[in-house]
């Protein structure tokens, strides 16, 4: 009994130490962002005075509000596009019966193996040829075309759990497929929609390579690009840089705590965060 107890307190201490490993970096970054310039280069963990100068400076260093607006625009459009189109395609695979359905579904899954490096260059050339470089279109329009194999898979898995008898009853009542999708299945699918929306939000908000390739015009930049720029300076101003990081992390953290369940569902199912 004694040994049991000692063992469990040892494990508790171990869990606390690991928690420090995961949490201290956040605290350190937050404190750096609140430190006066001079104190950044001291090893004191706590600042002598808390001040928000670095956050104000940020607005002079980069066009923060413009970048924010661009990021929000691209993210919102992408989330709408992906949830709409992946649920539509997912409905075809999960709720309808048609010839070739299963083979096409396996094919969709197989395309997940296709590395994006192989398609990246021709896709860039396509957008260049149709004059979409330096616009948000390359980052948003494709989102309406299926929303990615993984999201279709996720939607389809959820739709499979909708009772077929419910759908058939609606069909006998003369509902069109579109009406069934919109009025019956989508309202039932809120958890799946939330999961897909959160994964898409995370991906788009953090996306770096896409904007880097397609948005060379400074005024079109996103927060992710702006942060990368700020970090790439010869002598980075750490306090300002950390203030920028804190602001960019904020929506992610807020959404995490609001929708923890869907967040975790999305992660355990995908692990796709890179």
């Amino acid at each position: 009994m004694m040994q049991r107890q000692r063992e469990s307190s040892l494990i508790f201490i171990l869990m606390v130490v690991i928690a420090l490993f995961f949490l201290l970096p956040f605290l350190w970054v937050l404190l750096t962002s609140l430190k006066p310039e001079a104190e950044v280069f001291s090893r004191n963990f706590l600042p002598t005075t808390l001040q928000f100068d670095n956050y104000l400076q940020l607005f002079h260093k980069i066009p923060f509000l413009l970048f924010l607006r661009n990021s929000v625009f691209i993210t919102v459009i992408s989330v709408i596009g992906v949830t709409l189109s992946s649920s539509l395609v997912g409905y075809a695979f999960g709720c309808m019966n048609w010839r070739g359905r299963n083979s096409l579904f396996y094919f969709v899954i197989a395309t997940m193996m296709l590395p994006m490096q192989v398609t990246m260059i021709p896709v860039f050339v396509i957008f260049k040829e149709i004059g979409w470089l330096n616009s948000f279109k390359p980052l948003t329009v494709p989102m309406f075309l299926g929303g990615g194999a993984f999201n279709i898979f996720l939607m389809r898995q959820f739709f499979m759990t909708v009772p077929g008898s419910l759908l058939d009853a609606a069909r006998i009542d003369g509902c069109s497929e579109l009406a069934i999708y919109w009025k019956i299945v989508l309202p039932l699918a809120k958890p799946a929609l939330a999961t897909v929306a959160i994964l898409t939000f995370m991906f788009t908000w953090n996306d770096f390579l896409g904007p880097l390739i397609y948005l060379s015009d400074k005024a079109k930049g996103t927060l992710a690009l702006g942060l990368g720029q700020l970090a790439g300076q010869q002598q980075p101003e750490w306090a300002v840089l950390m203030a920028a990081s804190v602001l960019m992390m904020l929506p992610v953290i807020v959404i995490f705590f609001l929708f923890q369940k869907y967040f975790i569902q999305g992660f355990t199912m995908s692990g796709i965060k890179e």
């Binding site: 869990m15 075809a92 990246m120 021709p122 396509i126 299926g146 770096f208 950390m242 992660f267």
Partner: protein
Amino acid sequence: MKTSRKNTLWGYLFASPWIVGFLIFGLYPIFASFYYSLCQYDVLRIPQFVGLRNYRELLFQDHYFYSAVWNTLFYTFIRSPLVIIGSLALALIVSRAARGVKFFRTIYFIPSIISGVILSVLWLWLLNPQYGLINSALQFFGLQGPLWLIDPSWSKPAIILMNIWSLGGGRMLVFLAAIQNVPTHYYEAVEMDGGGWWAKFTNVTLPFISPVLFLWFILEVIFSLQVFVEAYVMTKGGPLNSTLFYNLYLYNKAFDDFDMGYASALAWLLFILAGVITFVQFRLSKRWVYYSGGAEK
């Protein structure tokens, strides 16, 4: 329900966004990319066919190519097992019924919501040799920390350390779900034989979760081979090309030099490399992955 012609029409109609997207952004680019890889192509002029020249140059003349391959393989083969073993250990710790264990699960998961540029910028500061948190913490214990991203022999380990921090909690939840699916009566059987937790782990947990571990070894390798943003933001490939990872080199060739033919050849070689590694993993899996057949969901 029968599959009438009308149903089939509706089915394809609903699936059509994906089909259109795949034709434009998947199928056509595969062929175009392969063709470009056989061409000299700078985007401004039309591609000029040069046969296997790009591949020959890559394999026989380009020492940056071999640095990029070496860096990427080093990164992949060190990072993947560390992330998997680390997050499996975490999962084992938080799978025990203990006080506050749910709270700790949430804490461990939080870094997993940070990725890409934010992650890189945070760690650029954390890894600062003089004033960063990591070396300050090491000094607290009387240790002299390395120069991390400035030292060619520590730059890759630094990026791996960062990824363990940011991936551990997410993978932990995956393995935790797998561990919780193991039927408990198997543990009781080991207990009756007088086995401790190590015996339970090696004889029950490990075999039962081996299919999940295998899947994540495959995914982890594929993700690791893709490393790009970290190197682009934190090191630009330096110092001394020690973090010139494959995709960074590919990006430089494509979008700095606009040598699209060469970059396309690079992309195909990476595809082949990833395919070979995955194939080898499948062959090796027969020796260690256990499918309980039916007992698993």
